[in-house]
């Protein structure tokens, strides 16, 4: 199934925040004493969780093995997969 523009927009917001989190993670791996970077990291982690909660309610789970909740029927297996978006 082709994703709606709304789904693509929300996904892009998640990708933006999560990119900053990846970048901060690697930075902190070699700069573990940087207080400001850790603060920024924790703030963005909250933001990421909020955005994903909102996305998952509309478009289904992003993670499994218990990383996300499921509605009925099991919707983890639904398209589109990332390369189909």
């Amino acid at each position: 199934m082709k994703p709606s523009q709304e789904q693509i927009n929300q996904m892009e917001q998640i990708q933006q925040v999560d990119f900053a989190l990846v970048e901060l993670t690697l930075y902190l791996d070699t700069h573990p004493q940087d207080y400001n970077a850790i603060q920024q990291f924790n703030q963005l982690a909250v933001q990421s969780k909020q955005l994903k909660g909102q996305y998952e309610q509309q478009f289904g789970p992003l993670k499994q093995f218990g990383g996300s909740f499921s509605s009925y029927p099991w919707n983890w297996i639904d398209s589109p997969w990332p390369w189909q978006m």
Partner: protein, 189 residues
Amino acid sequence: MWYYEKKLQYPVKVSECNPRLAKFLIEQYGGADGELSAALRYLNQRYSIPDKVIGLLTDIGTEEFAHLEMIAAMVYKLTKDATPEQMKEAGLGAHYANHDHALFYHDAAGNPWTATYIQAKGDPIADLYEDIAAEEKARATYQWIINMSDDPCLNDSLKFLREREIVHSQRFREAVEILKQEQDKKKFY
């Protein structure tokens, strides 16, 4: 353990079906300096590296799998609508004969991926220098592919990946300095 997340690290868009570009891109899927090599190299080295840099190898190794998925998405989108004739014209005739439209871990010239592409010397400095070199080689490969590509959508994603190689290289250089400092500390005991 690892969790899969149903999202690409960065959006992958292509302007049109272009199996010729896919043939070049497969270098970063199953080539010596590609994303599979990178992920397996770092995640394998981390068991014998000093504790101070295990986190970095774990996280960069994990990010490489996200890059592998991006390359797969590019190849998939560039080839999914290609006819056998178009595959043949693009130099993918041999690939098509063996794999149809399936992806396979080989380089742009068709050589299958091999574990000999990666090293694990057990010497932390030797391993990290190899990792820095691998990132620089991957960065160069992305540049050569961008130079041959006329697809602006694809180039946007490729430029993202090229920049990631630079950041990874920088982080590995910092890891070398961290280990050198640790080494110096020990001498004063």
